[in-house]
């Protein structure tokens, strides 16, 4: 694994290795010294073309706990069509000796471009690209589910909301199916992408029908601007048909958990009482995010990429 661009690229072994590694790294947060020397002297650049404080902080904490030097390169505000090109930025980062670039970008595929160009040699971690993928979010979601539900084989995971525009839904759909879970995506028909039938998931337009057998329900953020583009008639109708409220939570099995990648639109896709209930593992998702990102950075940056370096 040279880069982490998409959860589609992860085999079951890769994904399990990341999750197992994160499991061990979670304990670091509870030690007197919350730092490992592993990536001492390595440089990790957080290249954020989109404002996402929570993701950036999570990656920053992960990198620092591994003793890496972190450079935050915020390109927000400079729209992608203006200002310095991604190529020039990449050349700059290469000249600065970046060993890894964590990139968040509004354009789908920008991390691929960086990884496949000859502009820089470092590892590329996709921290969310446009409406494409957000692989570390899916990994931390899977990690959180595994802690509550055990191995994901055969578990029923329901993901609800704007699948069309959601990078979290894409990454989770592929990762969770790779890990053996039964994924059901629930959305109004307007918010499913064309070709959804080729995804390794079941789909439904009916949230209520999907809840009873669910082991975990993940609510996706619904952007208000979708309403203006006629994806659904009104926020009220959306939340009535696809929002998670106390009545719907009551249909869930005892052990089922409620998740949300954040930031939440309380009152839209999830009511405040559900978000704050003991079913909700939303805050824990944040904690787990650091451990999962540590695991990803460790596995990408330690280790030779050449197969001949085998233990003698």
């Amino acid at each position: 694994m040279k880069h982490l661009l998409s959860t589609r690229d992860l085999s079951r072994e890769d994904a399990t290795l990341i999750l197992d590694t994160a499991q061990e790294l979670l304990a670091v947060a509870e030690r007197p010294v919350k730092k490992l020397p592993t990536l001492r002297g390595r440089t990790i650049v957080n290249l954020f073309y989109e404002d996402s404080t929570r993701t950036r902080i999570s990656f920053e904490a992960a990198a620092k706990r591994l003793s890496a030097d972190v450079i935050n390169f915020s390109a927000k505000g400079s729209s992608v069509s203006k200002g310095e090109s991604l190529k020039d930025t990449a050349l700059t980062l290469q000249a600065m000796g970046a060993d890894a670039v964590v990139i968040r970008h509004s354009a789908s595929g920008a991390p691929h471009l960086l990884a496949e160009s000859q502009w820089m040699r470092g590892a590329v971690v996709n921290a969310g690209d446009g409406t494409h993928e957000h692989p570390t979010q899916a990994l931390l979601d899977a990690f959180t589910m595994r802690r509550h539900l055990g191995e994901l084989d055969g578990k029923n995971i329901v993901i609800v909301g704007d699948v069309l525009h959601s990078r979290v839904a894409r990454s989770n759909a592929y990762l969770l199916s790779t890990l053996g879970a039964n994924v059901t995506l629930v959305s109004p028909p307007t918010l499913f992408p064309v070709g959804i039938e080729t995804w390794p998931v079941a789909t439904s337009y009916n949230l209520d029908a999907s809840l009873e057998s669910a082991d975990a329900v993940m609510m996706l953020r619904v952007q208000n601007e979708r309403m203006n583009a006629s994806f659904f008639p009104s926020a009220r109708e959306y939340s009535r048909r696809y929002g998670l409220n106390a009545q719907r939570v009551a249909k869930l099995a005892e052990h089922a958990i409620v998740m949300h990648p954040g930031p939440m639109n309380r009152g839209m896709e999830i009511t405040a009482d559900v978000a704050d209930s003991d079913r909700s593992v939303i805050v824990e998702q944040v904690t787990n995010g650091v451990a999962v990102r540590m695991a990803v950075l460790y596995l990408l940056l330690s280790g030779s990429q050449t197969p001949e370096a085998i233990e003698s």
């Binding site: 589609r8 992608v80 069509s81 090109s85 991604l86 190529k87 970008h105 509004s106 354009a107 789908s108 595929g109 920008a110 691929h112 471009l113 496949e116 160009s117 690209d129 446009g130 409406t131 494409h132 993928e133 069309l164 990078r167 894409r170 992408p193 064309v194 070709g195 959804i196 080729t198 995804w199």
Partner: protein, 434 residues
């Protein structure tokens, strides 16, 4: 100045000699001119003889984007591709929406010795889709414009489209429509299908093209006008065209070489070299446009040669420019997709890439039969050659060649424009580089 071409295979079939004197073919046939003392004799054994190619859809970028292409460089690229005439699209800066701009482009073409340039006029002022350009003034200008197009944008207003179709009847013009329903393609990045969903790129659905074509053929029928459909790319579009022609509607259509060969799977790596409008479609659509070209539903192959500077392609997919080069590879792509597959003959290629585009564009000095007394515009093509396409081996100023690194059959050996070599032995002649 006389030239004798010996043993060329006319339309890839019988061997003929061609005798050219000045700018005219004086004789053509087996054994012709064997005893004549021509100034130049060319051994064309094994080469396919075709009339000089005519491209109804070329972006020469001048005026305005001379960093991407100029009339001089674009016409040289055309000559290297076997073309003797190209129609220059109107989406320049300023837009070719007045007699002044089209005459400027026309003049620049005349100064280039490489290939004739026939300007296309914009249908609406500034391509803004709201007000008709002075179509008559462009028709009456020195450029003698007969083809009008807002290519790059769709004339989406139905009333405006109707008026344009009607208005150009006065001078036997044609509206070449870029069929793209704008609301259905807001922010569109690639063909809408399973891959657009997977890649998270906004889809450009086939229906956005087909809906406009369907509307336009009905409008053309209603007002009794002539319609040309640019770069048709979907199976549905082919079917609508087939239906329209069966009704006797006066419509013609073009397909680009890239839509004959490339499909949307190439987008998977997010390399903007494959970003084009209309987008690369599914494999099924590729088969459908080939069938359409083979059965005559699609009348012509036109390149939509769209040069872009490197920086507009070396960037995020979403902000990259739409378009790819095509002039220098068109005939090879047609050989690969249509000849080598047995779908059509070279005689049909001559129709689709020379006679038909000239007829649609209403020019009388190109796309002529290869016969005595006709202008000596011709191309000699070696179908047995192969080459791995090198993006830097080009006369174009741009390098956005989607075929770079892949092997294509065939090679343009000689191109003659009015009896003068513009390409000889595969190289641009001095006359073409003037």
């Amino acid at each position: 100045m006389s030239i004798l071409i010996r043993n060329a295979k006319l339309f890839g079939e019988s061997e003929v000699n061609v005798l050219i004197e000045g700018d005219t073919i004086t004789d053509i046939g087996a054994g012709v001119g064997e005893n004549a003392s021509a100034d130049t004799t060319i051994d064309a054994t094994g080469l396919v003889l075709l009339p000089g190619l005519v491209d109804l859809h070329t972006h020469l970028r001048e005026p305005g984007r001379e960093d991407a292409e100029t009339v001089a460089t674009g016409t040289r690229a055309a000559a290297r591709g076997g073309f003797t005439c190209v129609f220059a699209m109107a989406n320049t800066e300023p837009v070719a929406d007045t007699a002044g701009v089209v005459e400027q482009v026309f003049r620049l073409g005349q100064e280039s010795g490489a290939c004739d340039v026939q300007p296309i006029g914009a249908v609406t002022v500034g391509l803004n889709g709201t007000q008709l350009s002075e179509l008559g003034a462009m028709a009456d200008s020195a450029a003698n414009v007969r083809v009008f197009s807002d290519d790059g944008k769709c004339v989406h207003d139905a009333v405006l489209m109707r008026r344009a179709l009607e208005y150009v009847k006065a001078f036997d013009g044609v509206i070449a429509q870029h069929a793209q329903e704008p609301r259905l393609t807001e922010g569109a990045q690639m063909n809408e299908g399973p891959l657009s969903g997977e890649l998270g790129l906004t889809g450009w659905p086939a229906v956005a093209e087909e809906a406009i074509i369907a509307r336009d053929v009905l409008l053309a029928e209603h007002v009794g006008s002539r319609l040309h459909v640019c770069h048709l790319s979907t199976r549905g579009s082919v079917e609508i065209l087939r239906w329209a022609k069966s009704r006797g509607i006066n419509v013609t259509a073009e397909v680009t070489p890239h839509h004959l060969l490339l499909d949307d799977d190439l987008v998977r790596g997010y390399n903007p070299i494959y970003k084009v409008n209309p987008p690369l479609r599914s494999k099924d659509d590729v088969l459908a446009v080939r069938e359409g070209l083979a059965d005559g539903t699609i009348d012509i192959v036109a390149t939509d040669h769209a040069p872009h500077p490197m920086e507009d392609k070396e960037c995020e997919w979403q902000v990259a420019a739409f378009g790819m080069l095509g002039l220098e590879t068109a005939l090879s792509v047609v050989q690969k997709t249509m000849i080598d597959t047995g779908a059509i003959t070279w005689a049909r290629v001559a129709e689709a890439m020379s006679a038909n585009p000239a007829r649609i564009g209403r020019i009388d000095h190109h796309g002529r039969p290869l016969a005595a007394g006709e202008p000596a515009n011709l191309v000699l093509f070696d179908p047995a050659a192969t080459r791995v396409v090198d993006a830097t081996d080009t006369a174009s100023l741009s390098r956005n060649n989607p075929y770079a690194g892949i092997e294509l059959p065939g090679r343009v050996v000689h191109t003659l424009l009015r009896g003068s070599f513009t390409v000889r032995d595969g190289e641009l002649t001095e006359g073409a580089q003037a």
